[in-house]
């Protein structure tokens, strides 16, 4: 999957989103949930970046803040050459054509009172991609066929479909606008494993066909292994490690990544590996630990870790790790980077 180098379609720099927490009689702000606390990464054209982490680590917030479905507090998000947080309301509405999202819950992501044709075709009319309702309907039919559903379904309502079918409709809606970039927010997590595989393969096919790039937000490492070109690992609102898929699986360098990977189910039951068990719970994102956020649970933690926030060290091409001891972390896991799914 090594294509000629292209400029990144998406560039995220120091994205921050804090949710204020109010308390007491007069609803004073007593703190904030630091859901996304300064993350940076790029997505190249035609590439899939997977964003992984435990639930509550801020990955979904990050994905939504990039599209300004949640207003970010600060930072830059360049999509196809424009900085999304800087856009005014009308410019943003126009630019939304370039960036789309596929949601986790196929049941709540389709408007129950609209027909499939309206759901898929509405954006086409809005962005002037087609001019008449009839054209929108035709285009919706083509798209339905492309995602593997019957074109005549345009006149039906979402409640008549199964979860997998609905997710296909959601995909059709996203690619209808011919975007450059799609955030897949846990897009397959709610589906049965059998359906999951098909939807993932559909996404991969569409990526090539429509020349897309994906940010694949997920907690499912087996999906990551199958779909990702690059992997971004988040912990408590910050990126701890990012690298190419092969690097992450073969040479994880951050202790957290190592623990995360060791917990993933493996396809080969005969291979044994050392499991890294992390002590304690994830600290509250309202009062995250000072210094390295991971130091309260890190087996390598030293005094420096609680004092100083580690910078992202570049240890190889495209491999960055935010750990003071990156030189000491060796590869404890024997990982085969093979995919569990047939393609």
């Amino acid at each position: 999957m090594t294509a000629e180098p292209r400029p990144p379609v998406v560039q995220v720099k120091d994205l921050v989103k804090h949710f204020p927490v109010y308390k007491g009689l007069f609803r004073r702000q007593v703190g904030s949930v630091k859901a996304v606390d300064g993350i940076s990464f790029d997505i190249q054209g035609g590439e899939t970046v997977a964003m992984v982490g435990e639930s509550g680590c801020g990955k979904t917030t990050a994905g939504r803040a990039m599209l300004r479905l949640i207003e970010p507090d600060s930072g830059e998000v360049w999509v196809s050459g424009r900085n999304v947080p800087d856009l005014d309301r009308d410019a943003l509405r126009n630019w939304r054509q370039k960036m789309q999202i596929i949601f986790q819950d196929p049941y709540s992501s389709l408007n129950p009172r609209q027909t499939i044709g309206q759901i898929i075709g509405g954006g086409l009319l809005l962005h002037g991609i087609v001019q008449t309702a009839a054209e929108a309907e035709d285009r919706a039919k083509e798209l339905l066929e492309r995602v593997g559903l019957q074109p005549r379904y345009t006149s039906r309502y979402p409640h008549e479909f199964s979860g997998g079918q609905r997710q296909r409709i959601g995909i059709a809606r996203a690619v209808a606008l011919n975007p450059d970039f799609i955030v897949c927010d846990e897009a397959v997590s709610a589906l049965d494993v059998s359906v999951q595989a098909q939807v993932i393969n559909l996404l991969l096919d569409l990526k090539d066909e429509f020349d897309l790039c994906y940010l694949f937000v997920t907690h499912d490492l087996s999906v990551v292994r199958h779909i990702a070109d690059h992997v971004v690992v988040m912990y408590l609102g910050q990126i701890v490690e990012r690298a190419s898929r092969a690097d992450i699986y073969a040479r994880p360098r951050h202790p957290y990544t190592q623990a995360l990977l060791s917990a993933a189910p493996r396809t080969d039951p005969h291979k044994r590996r050392k499991r890294v068990i992390l002590p304690g719970d994830v600290p509250s994102p309202i009062n995250p630990p000072a210094g390295c956020r991971f130091h309260t649970r890190c087996p390598l933690a030293g005094p420096r870790c609680s004092a100083e926030r580690p910078a992202a060290h570049r240890i190889a091409d495209d491999h960055y790790v935010a750990c003071h001891f990156y030189e000491d972390t060796t590869d404890p896991i024997d990982v085969t980077a093979s995919s569990p799914y047939p393609r």
């Binding site: 939504r64 599209l67 479905l69 943003l92 509405r93 126009n94 939304r96 054509q97 960036m99 789309q100 999202i101 949601f103 986790q104 819950d105 709540s108 992501s109 389709l110 408007n111 129950p112 009172r113 609209q114 027909t115 509405g122 954006g123 809005l126 962005h127 593997g148 559903l149 019957q150 005549r152 379904y153 006149s155 039906r156 309502y157 409640h159 008549e160 479909f161 199964s162 997998g164 079918q165 959601g170 809606r173 606008l177 059998s194 359906v195 595989a197 098909q198």
Partner: protein
């Protein structure tokens, strides 16, 4: 595995020839299965038709009027749009419905019957086109009626007929079954008991009670429907904004709603009504609406708070729709159902409020409102004048409440039949 997916690929409601029912059609299908509610709906339609065709049943203008040797005249028809006879816009509105509405309804009905067996999309489009065109045509007619020249038909036809016939002139005249005016009394007929001529007797001004009841239907239905339409619109907009934006906007609107709720509504309505000079039923509708908008606003707000966090709203935003579109086209259709149920009960309540106001002498004194007739009955202590309007109010309110209940049950998925 691919087989598995294509096996479930067929939609749940399989049959391809059958139409895919929209939410409205599902609810309607459920409603139709409730016999009592359906019967009440027919009752309401009947009541509406009575209101529309009231002049056909009761008017002191003859359909045909021809004293011997003179050309034929049609005083009844001319009186329909005569603003000196039907002084109230409500009556003009219903008379427009009576004449033009009937004419317009025919082609619209034809379209509906013809599209009965067609496939879904063209059928729905044709029906909504026909409906919109019909309503547009009607509104045009109503506007045109306003410009209708004022006629001077001051004569009381039955009396002239008697005079002419006494003088030996033959008169050919065809009257409606109840040849009385709802407004002008006959001094010779004050306080008549029930008789064949006056099926429910006459009141203390010599007006036929049945005729007044009949025209009172127009007043009650108008007040009910328009007041509710007004406050539902108002409450929906305010509630949507509060629920969608949340935060400070919501807190502010909540405070306003709380203020309005705390003021006892009947007291306020009566007070404001009493302070308006020459109040008309339009004032009454506005007053009712100004007090009652809070309940749909609260309902809608609660629905919006629930819905706005669902992904389809984020999806709409991600596609790039305007906020106005998201509020009113994406979320509102999902939130409106409980409000429409409440509206049905609201019509009943508005009718009750209006009749209470009239009963207390704080309504529009120029119209034959049921509450006013009952008040006359109380002061004159006449059983018919108490029971007849009371029964009319009771029946109307019951019909509305039962339809509302049927509607509510039809919306409740737990009670699907």
């Amino acid at each position: 595995m691919a087989d598995l997916e294509s096996a479930v690929d067929a939609p749940v409601a399989a049959d391809a020839r059958q139409e895919d029912p929209s939410y409205g059609e599902i609810v309607w299908g459920q409603f139709r299965k409730r016999r009592l509610a359906m019967a009440c709906l027919y009752g309401l339609v009947g009541l509406f038709l009575l209101a529309v065709y009231a002049p056909v049943l009761a008017s002191n203008k003859p359909f045909i009027w021809q004293p011997a040797g003179e050309p034929v005249q049609f005083p009844w028809f001319i009186s329909l749009f005569d603003r000196t006879f039907f002084e109230n816009q409500v009556d003009l509105f219903f008379n427009t419905l009576l004449v033009f509405g009937t004419i317009i309804a025919i082609p619209v009905a034809v379209v509906f019957v013809r599209t009965r067996n067609r496939l879904r999309r063209p059928r729905r489009a044709a029906r909504s086109r026909a409906l919109v065109a019909g309503i547009g045509a009607f509104l045009l007619c109503f506007a045109a009626v306003q410009a209708f020249p004022v006629q001077k038909q001051k004569e009381v036809f039955p009396r002239i007929q008697a005079q002419l016939e006494a003088a030996g002139t033959e008169v050919r005249a065809v009257y409606p079954p109840l040849p009385y005016s709802f407004r002008d009394g006959d001094i010779d007929q004050i306080g008549q008991p029930i008789s064949r001529a006056h099926l429910l007797g006459t009141d203390n001004a010599g007006r036929d009670v049945l005729t007044r009841l009949l025209f009172g239907t127009r007043i009650s239905l108008t007040i009910g429907v328009f007041a509710v339409a007004l406050y539902i619109t108002l409450g929906t907009i305010i509630g949507s904004i509060a629920g969608y934006y949340g935060g400070r906007v919501d807190a502010l609107i909540q405070r306003i709603i709380e203020v309005v709720i705390c003021v006892p509504s009947l007291f306020l309505i009566l007070t404001v009504a009493a302070f308006i000079e020459n109040r008309s039923i339009f004032h009454i509708m506005v007053i009712i609406a100004a007090v009652a908008w809070t309940s749909p606003a609260r309902l809608i707000r609660a629905e919006f708070l629930r819905l706005r966090n669902l992904d389809f709203v984020s999806a709409a935003r991600a596609v790039g729709y305007r906020e106005r579109t998201i509020i009113f086209k994406e979320i509102l259709p999902n939130a409106i159902a409980p409000v429409l149920v409440a509206a049905t009960f609201g019509v009943a309540r508005a009718i009750l409020i209006e009749s209470t106001m009239s009963f207390l002498g704080l309504g529009d004194i120029t119209v034959p409102s049921w509450g006013q007739i009952l008040n006359t009955g109380r002061t004159t202590s006449d059983w018919v004048l108490i029971l007849a309007p009371g029964f009319a109010i009771f029946v109307t309110v019951s019909l509305l409440n039962l339809v509302g209940e049927g509607f509510r049950d039809a919306l409740d998925p737990k009670l699907r039949k």
